[in-house]
């Protein structure tokens, strides 16, 4: 289970978080009340040139100095502050969410085609891999991840989408792309960094699914220097997309095709050039191919995409209304936010949805 939701405005018109909160709550029966999360693009216009690092501190008094020092080695902290929160009766807070607006020093990554992103990637890997009581949960420009875990049973700590949204005052943020995730817990819920969404600078990912190739995919991305510290699918997916799109220069449609390729039978029937291309993708990226049930919605500042496993074992509903593109697990979630939605579609297995923001 799990419910996922994404909305994008093609003209970058802003939406505040209240509608997304409504939409995600509409899918509460897909969750277990043990975690939820939101990610929004366009929320930090005043710091649009800085990488916004959202960090969870176990104990801010112990860890913050370490992170400050690490960041200052690699660039400049323009501003930092606690992320404003509002305690909720149902949510037990076990970390301090903080945000840094950080400018990496590009001269420290000479020879790189994207030095700032390389520095940010390495910082995220380094901070998350070490036992320093700090986890970076988002690291992109003008984007932020807001998420929390929870637990049930005696002494449970709640964590329904409404609790998490109200805790972070999601309605106070305005973004032009939003992703959200309503979690059905299957593993340790207490760690707030574990639930979706997952972000690495440009890319954010929410997933409804559980791949059967986590180990193979992880071994593949880790051979390129990524370090998977949370053990979750979405983390690997975010790294795979970053690797394929940024490092290997694949167009997003080809990257999705590499992650969820057509069957050989379909490839055999394609015209020769297309057959060759698809064969090459499967040859090169066999270890990146994801298997098992999944629906993924991913976004970067310029687009939102949705794709499923090639058997479409998890639902994906697409809605359009004016400039807005919606991708969700349930039609009801889309209607909760946009009652007059103009078109609803259910793409076939393996058919990706790619929505681009107008340039």
């Amino acid at each position: 289970m799990c419910g996922i939701f994404g909305v994008m405005d093609k003209r970058r018109q802003m939406m505040d978080g209240s509608g997304i909160r409504e939409a995600l709550s509409m899918m509460n029966e897909r969750g277990s009340g043990e975690g939820a999360g939101y990610v929004a693009y366009g929320i930090y216009p005043d710091y649009r040139d800085c990488y916004a690092l959202h960090v969870f501190f176990d104990k801010a008094c112990e860890s913050k100095a370490v992170i400050d020092a690490t960041l200052e080695q690699w660039g400049t902290i323009e501003h930092d502050e606690a992320i404003p929160t509002c305690d909720q009766p149902n949510l037990r807070v076990n970390c301090t969410p903080w945000r840094y607006f950080f400018k990496p020093d590009a001269s420290l990554a000479p020879g790189s085609a994207s030095p700032e992103k390389d520095i940010v990637t390495n910082l995220v890997m380094q901070i998350n891999a070490s036992a320093n009581g700090a986890e970076v949960v988002s690291s992109g420009k003008n984007v932020g991840v807001f998420k929390a875990g929870g637990s049930r049973g005696p002494g449970g700590s709640g964590g329904w989408p409404e609790d998490v949204a109200d805790y972070y005052r999601i309605q106070d943020y305005e973004g032009y792309i939003w992703l959200a995730h309503n979690r059905y817990a299957t593993n340790r819920p207490e760690l707030w960094e574990r639930p979706d969404p997952f972000n690495l600078h440009d890319w954010s990912v929410v997933e409804n699914g559980k791949t059967t190739t986590y180990g193979a995919n992880r071994r593949y991305v880790e051979s390129f220097g990524y370090n998977c510290s949370t053990g979750t699918d979405s983390e690997v997916i975010a790294y795979l997309i970053d690797l394929l799109v940024r490092k290997h220069g694949l167009d997003i449609s080809l990257a999705i095709r590499a992650l969820a390729p057509p069957y050989w039978e379909e490839i055999d029937r394609m015209p020769e050039a297309e057959q060759n291309l698809n064969r090459a993708l499967r040859f090169a990226y066999g270890s990146a191919t994801m298997n098992g049930p999944f629906t993924v919605v991913a976004a970067n500042p310029d687009m939102m995409v949705g794709f499923t496993d090639r058997g479409k074992l998890r639902p994906m509903v697409v809605g359009e209304c004016g400039d807005r593109l919606y991708i969700a697990s349930e039609e009801a979630a889309i209607r909760a936010m946009e009652s007059g939605v103009e078109s609803i579609a259910r793409p076939a297995a393996g058919e990706p949805v790619i929505g681009r923001v107008a340039p």
């Binding site: 559980k210 193979a216 051979s223 291309l277 090459a280 993708l281 040859f283 191919t289 049930p293």
Partner: protein, 505 residues
């Protein structure tokens, strides 16, 4: 006979239930080792000649024959075991190296049997292979690590990366290299037909290619070994791929052995060696004294065949396996076959067979990891071999990092072989490991090829089911997916090397 050792205790004792026996003499006819003979109105038995090949049991119409192993006890001793003592008696008598056939008989734990496979339950659904596709198609050869594109004048992009030739297999199971000479022409023809029927390939071994196999050459991987037996450009051009044999799991560090008994006129012609002579391949290739020489051989073989065919290299699994594999991966080869220490053989010195090398499970794991660490994994495909016994071994080998496997002994067993281990004598009563025409004629290639194809088909079905249960619908999603394995009763060091978690973790 100048020894005071007398005779060894019987290894096997054959008995006939005289009530059941109808004296049809099929046992006499079938036993090429001469265990049975008629003397007047009785069939006499010389158990000393028996190899436990079971040919007589299989063809006795009355189930009258029974066989017992080691009917005579030695004084039991934990150190001076029967095997140790008998080796000493043999060597004291002959002063020679002891040759043995088939794979290792050392009683060491089998890692495959301590690896458990995963299946889906509720958080992920299993795939049902009866109703949904599960892809076993496997391509062997170099894969690009990255793709390059160019923009066409109309704005479309097209792929500019050129793919190098790959072998396409319908199932990740290939028939391993056993030479014509070591096994009979009928055995080879049977394997070739089975390879064609099941969409896979077979290895020729180092014995050249008999004209009888030309009709199946598109399914043959021709081998170039250190003896260069049977190698010329015509041979190279006939194969679908070419394999350079640098080592063999049953005898790492030494070359092939074909005993003169098996070098018949036809074998002599195919191999280009004198009839009746022992064919002992050199330990190294005499044009490869350093790793830098290997690319030259790879290139010359590729040039000779216009770069149209994948070139494989086969190495034995030894301690510095990862380093060997990484070195070979840089030589330009398209695939590396790694042969574990349980690998089969027609003849090998016993000490090598039972004491030299490392298990295939470990060798594949370390090879796959090292290639990934060095960014070379797409440069080569990995083929695991050395006692792949059943479909689960195939699945486990692939989950540890292999692309495909070679089977040898299993294919022989599918033709009737009882793993008696006397292949080097050339008297195989099943018509497999022999060149004696009357024995070879016993193996009908039509029947035997059906049996091998059945085996491959059955394993393929089992692999499909096991993958489906694990929620995996393409073989590349199984490859190197060590998360889907768990080690049961393996020590921490080994789990660490295999990069596999313990059961329960």
């Amino acid at each position: 006979m100048s020894s005071n050792l007398g005779s060894m205790p019987l290894r096997y004792r054959v008995t006939i239930d005289r009530e059941q026996c109808m004296e049809c003499e099929r046992c006499i006819e079938n036993c090429s080792y001469g265990v049975f003979r008629r003397d007047g109105d009785r069939i006499l038995i010389n158990s000393r000649k028996c190899t436990a090949c079971h040919r007589c049991l299989a063809y006795c119409p009355r189930d009258a024959i029974m066989l017992e192993e080691q009917p005579c006890d030695y004084r039991s001793h934990p150190v001076w075991t029967r095997a140790v003592r008998e080796s000493i008696y043999n060597q004291a008598r002959t002063g020679k190296i002891i040759l043995a056939g088939m794979g290792s008989v050392a009683n060491l734990p089998i890692i495959f049997d301590h690896l458990m496979l995963d299946a889906c339950q509720v958080t992920t659904p299993p795939t049902d292979p009866l109703r949904e596709p599960v892809e076993l198609r496997t391509y062997l050869g170099k894969k690009p690590s990255k793709l390059e594109f160019r923009q066409k004048p109309n704005g479309d992009v097209e792929l500019s990366t050129e793919l190098t030739p790959n072998l396409m297999l319908e199932t990740p199971i290939m028939l391993g290299h056993m030479s014509y000479g070591a096994i009979s022409l009928n055995a080879h023809v049977a394997m070739a037909r089975a390879a064609r029927e099941t969409g896979t390939y077979m290895g020729t071994g180092e014995g050249g290619l008999h004209p009888g196999l030309y009709p199946y050459q598109d399914r043959m991987i021709v081998q170039v070994a250190s003896g260069r037996f049977g190698v010329n450009v015509d041979y190279l051009e006939r194969g679908a791929a070419i394999e350079l044999k640098l080592g063999q799991g049953a005898k790492p560090g030494i070359g092939g052995h074909l005993t003169g008994e098996k070098v018949s006129a036809d074998v002599s012609r195919t191999r280009m060696i004198p009839q009746g002579s022992d064919a002992i391949s050199p330990a190294p290739h005499h044009d490869i004294y350093g790793i830098e020489d290997l690319p030259q051989l790879v290139n010359s073989v590729k040039e000779a065949t216009e770069r149209k065919k994948p070139v494989f290299a086969k190495i034995a699994a030894v301690n510095n396996n990862a380093e060997n594999v990484a070195a070979v991966a840089r030589s330009g080869v398209d695939a590396i076959a790694i042969d574990g220490f349980r690998g089969g053989t027609g003849a090998a010195p016993r000490v090598f067979r039972d004491h030299v090398g490392i298990p295939i499970e470990v060798a594949i794991s370390t090879a796959d990891q090292e290639l990934r660490n060095q960014g070379l994994r797409n440069e080569v495909s990995l083929i695991a071999c050395g006692s792949i016994r059943e479909s689960t071994d195939v699945v486990k080998a692939i989950a540890l990092g292999a692309d495909a496997v070679y089977i040898g002994t299993a294919a022989l067993a599918a033709m009737g072989c009882r793993v008696c281990g006397n292949c080097y004598q050339g008297l195989c009563p099943w018509g497999i490991a022999t060149q004696r025409q009357d024995l070879v004629d016993r193996l009908n290639p039509d029947v035997a090829s059906k049996q091998i194809a059945n085996l491959i088909h059955a394993w393929t079905l089992e692999i499909t089911e096991l993958m489906g249960a694990a929620g995996i619908n393409s073989i590349e999603s199984l490859r190197g997916n060590r998360d889907r394995l768990r080690g049961y009763m393996l020590d921490e060091g080994l789990l660490d090397i295999l990069d596999v978690k313990s059961v329960g973790a």
